[in-house]
Symmetry: D2
Subunit: 331 residues, 4 copies
């Protein structure tokens, strides 16, 4: 059984990742790490995981006796930890933004200095529905951001068909996306019964979506605006596409059927998706609408931001890296 470490298991995504690896029939959860909560048991910090393991302080030498690691740290600090693991031969799925971009200039613009420049650009972008084959052989996988996961699954079929002339992505996320740090905006009283746009015209997932859309054939500058809504887990992206060319409803329908009919974790439905339908699952639920009145194509995608948008997708990548069925440990 391959042994797995989860770094940053006291965060929301890290805790779900640890729980999923712990329950996984093929992998063994060998280490869970935390910074300030090292020494505590994970099931005391996050009862719902029911993982009765002690959180350890991060120590690359002590914790590199594993076959792979899921790194659930913030961007910036993740890169050096990833480098330390790679030096010791550990395969890595990194959930931070540090290895998602492939243009150093864009990384510098949106994130600043990189923590492991020698590894920059070496990762495979871990969206299995787009890059399955390359993930299989990868030693370093950059797990996508939550918004890019939903937006790219929503838009990739149109991108590949040359149908995206322009696109507005209006995204809505539950509060867990803001992380476990108690702040003014994650206080119950600030979030409850409220909703608001945030990081208007400068959210860091923007260049990530553009890079991957370009990789699918759509070199567009997107408008992307996230909003905070009063729920715990769940993310909805509403994509408004101005088509680049003539098309029929049937063509669009066929594009999505071809792309997703055999994907275990994408559900294509006629009606608009709700985030509750995918709560605590690895599913992305999609609907596509050709609006005859305006000519626009509307695509809605719902995921659980902590699962398909982070932790369960990391395990799906792990499955792919180790040649397992991508449903294993997630069904």
């Amino acid at each position: 059984m391959p042994r797995i470490a989860v770094l940053g298991a006291s965060g929301y995504a890290g805790a779900v990742a640890a729980m999923l690896v712990h329950r996984h029939p093929f992998f063994e959860l060998a280490h869970v790490t935390a910074r300030s909560e090292a020494g505590a048991r994970l099931d005391d910090v996050h009862p719902r995981t029911r993982v009765p393991m002690q959180l350890e302080a991060w120590d690359p030498d002590a914790q590199s006796d594993v076959d792979a690691a899921l790194v659930c740290w913030p961007h910036g600090v993740a890169a050096p930890a990833v480098a330390a693991l790679r030096e010791r031969g550990v395969r890595v799925v990194d959930l931070s933004a540090d290895f998602r971009l492939r243009d150093r200039g864009i990384y510098a613009d949106w994130y600043g200095e990189h923590g492991a420049p020698e590894l920059f650009g070496q990762a495979v972008y871990g969206l299995p529905e787009l890059h399955r084959e390359r993930i299989g052989g990868a030693d370093l996988v950059a797990n996508p951001g939550c918004y890019p996961t939903a937006a790219l699954l929503a838009l990739a079929p149109l991108a590949r068909a040359g149908l995206i002339g322009d696109v507005v992505v209006d995204a809505k996320s539950g509060v867990s996306g803001a992380g476990r740090e108690p702040t003014a905006s994650t206080h119950f009283i600030a979030a409850d019964e409220n909703m608001t746009p945030y990081k208007v015209d400068r959210h860091r997932h923007t260049p990530e979506i553009e890079q991957e859309l370009a990789g699918q054939g759509a070199g567009v500058t997107i408008t992307f605006t996230p909003h905070l809504v009063p729920l715990a887990q769940g993310e909805l992206v509403s994509c408004y596409v101005t088509p680049a060319r003539e098309h029929s409803d049937g063509e669009v329908r066929a594009l999505y059927d071809d792309a997703y009919a055999r994907e275990p974790w994408v559900e294509l439905r006629p009606g608009a998706p709700g985030v509750l339908d995918v709560r605590d699952t690895n599913y992305c639920r999609l609907s596509v609408h050709c609006d005859g009145r305006t000519g626009r194509i509307l695509v809605f995608a719902a995921i659980d931001n902590l699962w398909k948008g982070a932790a369960s997708q990391a395990v799906q990548n792990l499955d792919a890296m180790f040649g397992r069925d991508e449903r294993e440990g997630l069904a």
Copy 2:
């Protein structure tokens, strides 16, 4: 003191309207009506109103001893009641959709047959920030829909300046917008921790927004999609405008300052608005952003769908109709 009747006071908007008239220093609440709850006291049905009056069954002869009426009934059934009131000389603010549109064909397409065709097109569209002067002399005012209120306040300055080439309006509303009838989608278990688009590409507020934008100089076909979010009262519209022409940030800023600096119920703020900021108030809170990267203009507007989106705007119209300060009874 002008005497006022509120028809449909057992619904959410009607209850707020009755409460506001009851507290109003200039108006006297003379009648409150309800259908199935006639006979009950309004403060038993809606304790928060603290209006200790008995709900009456609707009877145009008995209840026309008033100077004005707020009709809080659904479209279709509202029109005949409005006609009965007008015949008896009662001034009316109608909160339904029956008198908002001015094109009979468009009404027929989106709503079907009209319940008082002789009055069709006779109303002033009751958005005081756009039509204050005509409201003053009006006997029949069509209170705007909740989404149109927010979207028009957000877009009117750009429309008048010829700046709207194209626009996507992504709207989010709390559950009270769906009305008081218990249904599968208003059940707590369906709405809680969920969010979903609804009435994709066919919501009836679309032609209303288009009509009024055209009236402001922007004859565009809009993309409008509402979403249901898990909160009680509050509505946010996120408007993504592709400009029709060159412009500067300064010009845009000046357009909004000129439009709203002296409006008592519009708050222009640099940061993005949250719906909690306007809960239980008549305010519309706005922010405008020129995105240099994409060239788009983004406008966000937050209102309380039951207040500025319905009941308090109706009272603001009443104030305007009777020559009162529009802050009266609402501050």
Copy 3:
């Protein structure tokens, strides 16, 4: 593989029960029934189940080709269906209240006429932690009510030790406990940001708790008051016990350790439990506090009302009836 039918699979508890049986490694889900939604697929009605089976109208002849059935119908109508299944040799776990009580007079007082008097009193009360051995051989198991499940797990150790002189049970439940029927009190606007006692001094779970406490040795008349709180799933009972006799903290601690240390589904913790800790699980989480100042013993128990309070406990009973490990299909 034993074949299982779930009657009433379109309700909240029924849907969870069907999902759990469908995923179960030892049982096969053979039929799912519904009344008004017969013909629809369960995963369309309840997407989170991911059970791709068609809901059938109830037909005892067609659906008795099973080894056991979970009956998820309301009291009153459940009894005749249970009788029909028993006549055809099908083992039954009934989730209604119809077979929980053993005193016909008490049933008549609180519920009215019984729908299958010949079977009255024939069931084993399906709380495995109290009646495991008798459940093993039972053909008819009465699954406990949600409040009794939590209250009895909280109080049984004290009852058996003769420690309960008097007890107040203040219970709080999420909205799913009120069922799937859209009503005035389950409307989002009524429940959100609200909490209220309901069925004060006349909730039907009262005699059930008293009967089972008596069976454990405590023949007390209890005060039991449920409250509705704004969350979807979760139930907390706060038990305030006036002890019948002298005792030490150590004795009380030992009673709970002895009762639950080897129980797979009861978690005894020093700190007060939260319902989120047990969401979507079969766990009951307990804490016990001896208050030196007042002399009272306080016991808090948290369960998920749809899981341990209904559906997953039914599957736990099924496991026990078929001689399986009670963790099977639930971990």
Copy 4:
């Protein structure tokens, strides 16, 4: 117009207090203070107040040009500020716990050292429904805690009639009661869809309730347990009274009618109260039930913890101190 300062106006209760004084027809809001947010405008920190005043750092010399002050600081630090204000002749309503208790030993046990021992025991306990006459002439009023407000209004009529033999108070509060500091337990993800008891058998409102019950004639040791529930504002206390003597339903009903029929801010209703009925108001809503089966008397009381449980009750006290109608500024 008497001039009023609000100290600690950036906290939740302080912001509501400032808003109410600002709107008050008889008082003038002269100063609002804050610690870390000094310099900001109150309506930027708390938009819903719409108070366009700058928050000042606390300076007793600069801010004592007022007739009265509402001190909205935590216990411990409040006392010295109150002393500084009293030295300068300013009348004070203190919202902290510092002046509520009258027994120095009990204060020391539950709170530790007192910050202004020379003033200890000098305040009138500011529950107008119990101590109206003494509040009128007071220079220092100790505004009650939120739980004591609801519990005492619920129990005082029974206490005065010698009916309380024993009482269990199970209390539930929304999250704003925990204050504005972002902490692990006020994080949206911790509170949402959760509920839990807290401070079991050691909440500091216990001795305050006991002191005041004793003052009404009931020298009992109470069991008091608060619970956190997922809503913003609202508090419900469920009181389970074991009567000390024989009584009739009619006697109990008369006790409450006599106590509250003429009180403007207590609503006595037959059905159980919900906290939403009193949201954003100074009302306490009560219901009383004599349970024939158990002999217990059940009393339920709902308040808004930030209003009647803190800020609006402080303004009610201010009205009483200045001889105004207690409805003034609150209706």
